[in-house]
Amino acid sequence: MEVLWAAAHEGRGALTAREVQEALADRELATTTVLTVLGRLERKQLVVRTRDGRAHHYRATASREDHVAELMNDALDGAPDRGAALARFLGSIPDEERRKLRDLLD
């Protein structure tokens, strides 16, 4: 994941599995291992795969910061449908109050 994020950051875009493997050369991973991990990340919608001729290219769906922001949003927002998903240390905020909060923040 770090390799793909770094690639996006440097503007290189999508990488093939082989390029990912080379970037992780110091860990001596087998090609199948890299492919398995990439497949798993794809299923979790963290990575998208595009086909370019015979090669498969992998790219991160969002930057690390975007994902952290998504997590923080979940953690701070007490929306009822997410309300049951997490248990916050500070409890959640009732509906009408949350609207007021949004107004305050915007």
Partner: protein, 300 residues
């Protein structure tokens, strides 16, 4: 049987509105959160049984003296291939309304549960990639963000999360207090305790009593988790953590949020003495009796 139906309807309406409202204002619940949570579960279960049961009992009353015999008669006549002719429109409508309400409740509860599970899975996938394990406490992960938040992701594969902001702002003892609070949510599956009330609130948001119930239950699980955390660490550490994290939360601009926070801090510092054992026993027996009444009315 019509009398039993009337009794059930009355009980259901009483539980859903005045009883829920009055109970959410009771103060003794702060001295026995576990007992109060049991009573809430009993109110929810008994209320649902009564409201749905009253329609079913009334609808089937022409077919027998009690619900079991009436259901038996219905199936026997159905198997013989004809519709019981003692059924008139009023009874049929009552039956359909009751089944509709019951079905809606089950539907809301299951879709809500599925949505929750899906949201949790997504959140957990992201966490596992983004958050780093915290070496000081196994099973805890650190999310690299300056805003102090601490929460847990309940479920079979649960996660405890603190942000880098929390580790920055709190002393190690205070972090332990926060973790003890969250672990109690996970261990006692507070997410499942709240779920039925969220479903009731979503099924009938126009009934004020249901909304009161939802808020009261949410407060009680926090009290329970605070009690556990105060037991496993020093109460003043928990208070310090609440003040620091609460003071920097974006919601601190809301008066209701700070009021709720102050109430929690005051409860931990003052530590109201728990109810005596006989009162606690009475509360638990009361909860049991509450469920037993509609069950008996349905069966006899």
């Amino acid at each position: 049987m019509a009398l039993a139906a009337l009794g059930l309807l009355l009980l259901g309406v009483l539980l859903a509105e005045p009883v829920s409202r009055a109970f959410s204002r009771a103060r003794w619940t702060h001295r026995d959160p576990v007992g109060a949570l049991l009573v809430w579960q009993a109110i929810g279960l008994a209320g649902g049984l009564s409201l749905v049961g009253s329609g079913v009992v009334y609808g089937l009353s022409p077919l027998g003296d009690s619900l079991p015999t009436a259901v038996g008669t219905l199936f026997v006549e159905w198997n013989e291939g004809h519709w019981p002719d003692r059924f008139d429109a009023v009874h049929l409508i009552a039956l359909l309304v009751a089944l509709g309400v019951g079905g809606r409740l089950v539907w809301v509860l299951s879709t809500m549960y599925l949505r929750t599970v899906r949201a949790r899975r997504r959140h957990r996938d992201l966490l596992d990639v983004l958050a780093t394990p915290w070496p000081d406490s196994p099973g805890t992960r650190v999310l690299d963000h300056p805003q102090p938040v601490a929460y847990c992701l309940p479920g079979r594969s649960s996660r405890l999360v603190v942000s880098a902001g929390v580790l920055e702002a709190l002393s190690p003892e205070e972090v332990w207090a926060v973790l003890a609070h969250e672990k109690s949510h996970l261990r006692e599956r507070h997410d499942l305790v709240v779920l039925p009330f969220v479903a009731w609130g979503a099924t009938a948001p126009f009934v004020r009593g249901m909304v009161c119930a939802q808020i009261a239950v949410a407060e009680l699980i926090e009290m329970r988790a605070d009690d556990v955390a105060a037991c496993r660490s020093e109460p003043h550490e928990l208070v310090g953590a609440l003040k620091t994290v609460g003071g920097s939360a974006p919601a601190a601009a809301l008066s209701s949020f700070t009021d709720a926070l102050d109430a929690r801090i005051e409860r931990i510092t003052a530590h109201p003495c728990p109810l005596p054992w006989y009162s606690r026993a009475a509360v638990r027996l009361g909860a049991l009796a509450l469920v037993a009444v509609p069950t008996l009315l349905l069966l006899v």
